[in-house]
């Protein structure tokens, strides 16, 4: 909301500069985002007298004017403005002039004729906006002196300030007007608002004879006030009003429309004007829409109405959507002679529902749907009438037509001062709490028990009456906030850490995440954070077939864009995107990881019954699985190039090593890696990870098609589910005693079929060696010219040890022979 400072000063005494006012208001909750100074002085706009008017040779409606502005030589101006005659005094903006709103004026050429300036309308002079409905060039009074600046003739101050307010939902209910803010200022300064001018000069036929008002829905429209204006005189509003409207962000149109807008901004009460001649039988009926009715709005859109919607109708048909938008058929035009002004109070919920259903937001609806003061309609109608008569924009018919079927009573709340103090941590005396509330317009009355004078008075409980404009205050805690902010939040005490001592705990799951992240960063990987919202195209890129379970990814009902429409069922797309992003910037040596949820559809979402879910503890995992995942990505070289050379390119085994490291350090249990056929990976360079026999993830080189599409060279990716990994820290590790006896080392090297997986070879060795084998290390693998095709040479170093004695050769030799024999017997190995 934009609030002109001068307007506020008219309603209340403001002892502060605009910027100080902004600070004070912000501290009571009326947040001022910015203060802007506005300059209305129109430098370069002077009084000029028309010397001659001749038609433009090429354009019949355009005229070429010669003007004289004081002592300087004559100027030529091209204009389409009608009704100008020699001798008229007009405002001339010469090239280089500046109109309000920082609009500049330059010389221009029209149809071959150079125009040395521009003639201004009142609206242009007032606020720099284009002329209003049917508005022409301003004709200055006879006393104006050619050559003198125009600004002093406008009778308004040359500058003003505009406060840009950012109102929260509750303040929008009572501070979205100059009066609302003025009340806050009055509360701050301990004064009260200045009364508005409501005295109206009334003439002619009484309003009730012009219009009949009938409210058929007292719930939807508790109060309806109408006033009738006749003998309307079209034309622009006075300069001061135009300036204020423009400063508040509205475009001046004509006197009647400007008055309704002005009162809306000043008092917060939306008004609407109907053309009396276009209201069938001069009747206003407030009712629900009938089936099949339609309304052509002032915005030019025709909308079908449904029976729940509240409308203003004449004797035949709807002429407005109550509190939202007027109809084009009965709206006022510059030729309107008699207008019916509506000032009403509508039910917030009905306005909100209708506005949502039809998708229309207007200044009126955004106020009505929150709260409008039920006591404001007659005041607003009178204020509009007073403005109309002082502006000589028309005449006011005597009296108001008012229907108020169910008077809205003010809210009364029980307030315990002790409770307010307990909430705020203060020890305010009751009198102070009450004074603070009274400053804001509340009334408070002590609640007495019984009628006898002798009964002790409970000085704690008050009955507080909420002002009619404060629809946001509905409970005792709201009063506590009013008491607090009225005294200033800065004045409230502060204290720290009272009550029982507690131990802060991090859940085991999060500790495990941090531990994994710690290991991975130590191993050289950077953590990334990517968007959980992906598009179906990202799943296409991962080569998932149409019937893959991945395709059942959860979908948003109202996505921002198609590429952010799904909740990721895998973290791989984000990883690929980050790799491609960096590779595109020649940052190709990457080690990355992300830990976060993948979203898995587990049940029919339409079957979710919120009430029963809440009853059963809020668990949603039967429908949506949020599975914590870890994704790893490696690309480029193991270490960057330096003076000893560059590192080798990372490959599958770097990735596998990381997974093994995590499994070991996080005590996942037994890991197994098996060839797999995940569509996103290179068909023969991928594995499925089993932990304790269960599939927990996949790892491998990305499929060549994906790499090619992303412009990547080689990239390795692993995705591991963390959800079912054993939680960390449940049982503390016990010491493993250090070996007390020396080990015996034996190597074995042999050639075996390349198709025998290393895991099988290792299993054969372990089984043959039995309990004496402590560990084994594969220290060489060779495949090439020196061994037969289809076979490879392997070399293991075996460590034998017994816990209770020093092993002798006599003991180890037969065991090692068994190992060698088993390799020959079971794998057909040729020993070397």
């Amino acid at each position: 909301m934009l609030l002109p400072y001068s307007w506020l000063c008219e309603l209340v005494e403001v002892p502060w500069s605009p910027s100080e006012l902004a600070d004070r208001l912000s501290m009571v909750g009326v947040k001022v985002e910015a203060v802007r100074e506005m300059d209305f002085r129109c430098p370069g706009v002077v009084v000029a007298q028309i010397v001659s008017v001749v038609p433009h040779p090429e354009s019949p409606r355009t005229r070429i004017l010669t003007l004289k502005a004081g002592s300087e030589s004559q100027r030529r101006v091209v204009t389409t403005a009608p009704g100008l005659a020699p001798g008229d005094l007009v405002p001339l903006a010469v090239p280089g002039a500046r109109l309000p709103g920082d609009r500049g004026v330059e010389a221009e050429v029209f149809g071959g004729v150079r125009s040395e300036g521009m003639l201004c309308s009142l609206t242009e002079l007032a606020c720099g906006q284009p002329p209003g409905d049917g508005e022409g060039v301003l004709i200055l009074p006879a006393g104006a002196v050619p050559g003198h600046p125009v600004h002093p003739l406008l009778e308004t101050a040359g500058t003003d300030w505009v406060l840009e307010l950012e109102l929260t939902v509750n303040y929008a209910m009572h501070c979205q007007s100059v009066l609302g803010v003025a009340r806050e200022v009055a509360a701050l300064t301990g004064t009260s608002c200045r009364p508005r001018e409501h005295a109206v000069a009334e003439t002619g036929t009484v309003a009730e004879d012009w219009v009949r008002v009938e409210v058929r829905d007292g719930d939807g429209c508790p109060r309806y006030v109408a006033r009738v204006f006749h003998d309307l005189a079209p034309g622009p509003s006075p300069c001061w009003m135009q300036r204020r409207l423009a400063a508040a962000g509205l475009r001046p149109r004509n006197r009647l429309v400007d008055i309704t807008n002005y009162v809306l901004l000043e008092l917060g009460q939306p008004l609407h004007a109907f053309d009396h001649d276009r209201l069938a039988e001069g009747r206003i009926v407030v009712r629900r829409a009938a089936k099949g009715e339609r309304l052509l709005g002032l915005d030019g859109v025709e909308r079908p109405l449904t029976p729940g919607m509240l409308v203003i109708a004449d004797a035949r048909q709807p002429v407005a959507l109550a509190g939202i938008i007027g109809g084009a058929d009965a709206g006022v035009t510059p030729s309107t002679r008699v207008a019916v002004l509506e000032s009403a109070h509508f039910h917030p919920g009905i306005v909100r529902r209708t506005s949502l259903k039809l998708g229309i937001r207007t200044d009126a609806s955004s106020r009505f749907e929150k709260w409008s003061d039920p006591e404001a309609p007659p005041l607003a109608a009178d204020r509009a009438a007073a403005l109309l008569s002082t502006m000589a924009a028309g005449k006011v018919a005597p009296g108001r037509v008012e229907v108020y079927p169910r008077p809205v009573s003010r809210t009364a709340l029980r307030m315990r001062v002790s409770r307010v103090n307990a909430l705020l941590g203060t020890s305010l005396p009751a009198s102070e709490a009450v004074t603070r509330l009274q400053r804001l317009g509340f009334e408070a009355e002590l609640v007495r028990h019984g009628r006898q004078r002798a009964m002790p008075v409970d000085a704690d409980v008050y009955l507080v009456t909420v002002p009619s404009w404060r629809g946001d205050v509905t409970a005792e805690v709201d009063l506590a906030e009013e008491v607090a902010r009225s005294g200033g939040y800065d004045e409230l005490p502060s204290c720290l850490l009272r009550g029982t001592l507690t131990i802060g705990r991090r859940p085991a799951r999060l500790s495990a995440v941090d531990a994994a992240a710690g290991i991975l960063t130590a191993a050289g990987l950077n953590e990334i954070v990517t968007s959980p919202l992906i598009g179906a195209a990202a799943l296409d890129r991962l080569r998932f077939p149409p019937d893959d379970p991945m395709r059942a990814a959860l979908r948003l009902a109202n996505p921002l864009a198609e590429d952010q429409a799904l909740l990721r069922p895998t973290l791989i797309p984000g990883m690929i995107e980050v790799m491609a992003y960096n590779a595109g910037r020649r940052q190709v040596d990457l080690g990355l990881f992300e830990i976060g949820p993948a979203f898995i559809r587990r049940g029919e979402l339409s079957a979710v019954d919120p009430k029963s879910v809440v009853r059963q503890g809020g668990e949603l995992s039967a429908w949506v699985g949020e599975e914590p995942r870890l994704v790893l990505g490696l690309m480029g070289r193991r270490h960057p190039a330096y003076w000893r050379g560059a590192g080798d390119r990372t490959d599958f085994f770097d990735l596998k090593g990381l997974v093994e490291l995590l499994g070991d350090r996080l005590s996942w249990g037994e890991l197994a890696f098996e060839p797999s056929s995940h569509p996103s990976f290179h068909p023969t360079r991928q594995a499925c990870l089993r932990v304790e026999g269960q599939v927990r993830g996949f790892l491998g080189e990305l499929h060549p098609e994906i790499l090619a599409a992303q412009g990547l060279d080689r990239a390795l990716v692993a995705e591991v589910g963390l959800e079912l990994m054993p939680p960390r820290g449940e049982a503390r590790r016990r010491l493993q005693p250090l070996p007390r006896h020396p080990a015996v080392l034996r190597d074995v090297s042999f050639v075996a079929a390349a198709s025998s997986p290393a895991a099988t070879v290792e299993a054969v060795i372990r089984e043959a060696a039995g309990p004496l084998l402590e560990s084994l290390i594969l220290f060489d693998v060779y495949q090439g010219d020196k061994v037969a095709a289809g076979s490879r040479s392997l070399a293991y170093s075996l460590v034998y040890r017994a816990a209770d004695r020093t092993l002798t050769d006599q003991e180890v030799d037969p065991v090692h022979s068994q190992v060698r024999q088993a390799l020959v017997d079971r794998l057909g190995a040729i020993l070397r």
């Binding site: 009571v28 909750g29 947040k31 939902v169 509750n170 909100r352 529902r353 929150k370 307990a422 909430l423 941590g425 203060t426 409970a475 805690v477 709201d478 607090a484 939040y489 409230l492 005490p493 502060s494 204290c495 720290l496 850490l497 009550g499 029982t500 001592l501 507690t502 802060g504 859940p507 960063t521 130590a522 050289g524 950077n526 953590e527 954070v529 990517t530 968007s531 919202l533 959860l554 948003l556 009902a557 109202n558 921002l560 952010q564 909740l567 992003y581 960096n582 080690g591 990881f593 976060g596 979402l605 339409s606 919120p610 879910v613 809440v614 809020g618 949603l620 949020e626 330096y642 003076w643």
Partner: protein, 346 residues
Amino acid sequence: MVKPDIDRLREEALAAVAAAEDIGYLDHLQVAYLGRKGRLTAILRGLADVPASERPGLGAMANQARAEIESALARRRQELAMELDRRRQATEAVDVTLPGVPRRVGRRHVLSVVRREIEEFFLHLGFSIAEGPEVELDHYNFELLNIPRGHPARETQDTFYLTDELLLRTHTSPTQIRVMQMLAPRLPVRVISPGRVYRRDSVDASHLPFFHQVEVLAVDRGITFADLKGTLEHFARGFFGQGTRVRLRPSYFPFTEPSAEVDVSCMCEGRGCSACSGKGWIELLGAGMVHPRVLEAGGYDPEEVSGYALGLGVERAAMLCHGINDIRLFGQNDIRFLDQFGEGEC
């Protein structure tokens, strides 16, 4: 005749030792003078021909000469060995100004670092961490937080829906209800809840459709606004530095009453800078006393207990701490960005 022989021999031997330039020559000298067929040994043998009365004197003299030569040999041997070491080591010199072997240690994402910093602060105050789902019921995200359907506050949080009932949570506040429902009627409740939240906002320098928050909730008998204020002041000093001041402005959240917008004093001390756009204060977070209806929804009697809650934006805190001016950098994951921040660093 023998005595001058011994003296001469000794002088000659010592001179030869002193002049020796390698250890092999010293070995030769040792043999030549002191060996079984050495010259001093020969003199000693010749003592047999000396009159018995002169023998002790000459013997002692010869032994002393032998000791002197032996010690000279040992000394020279050590000198030469050291010299040899020195020479060898000279050839082993490294250029200490060559760069060291690069070790790659990665970093956590700055959002994780800042989130953990916030977590650690509250863990030390005795708050435990609780998590909540990102796909949330409308009920928890709005209804039970005193934001019924049609409430104007729903409009300020543009929401992604999956169905009419399921949505992507727009804040971490639903965990307030989840935690209270789980713990009620136990006291005190001291919980923080970090997590990702979503808003249907188009991407620009200050908006992403997803970001991170940390929710803080304390419920107990007798908790007041003063406890909230004290906690905020303590946090601001811990997070932004000892001199940091806190300013509370009245604000509005449907699930707290009274509510406050919390500003912290800018590092520029009000002199004006781009971070605070010259105002001297920076908006940090929203907070307030838990609304009675929210306490009720959580299973507590608002007449018996009270509480405070606050919600802190992790991106916002990170941007303030590190001078990051574009929120999109967090999700871009440019390695040059990722490499700048890490745990235990400033």
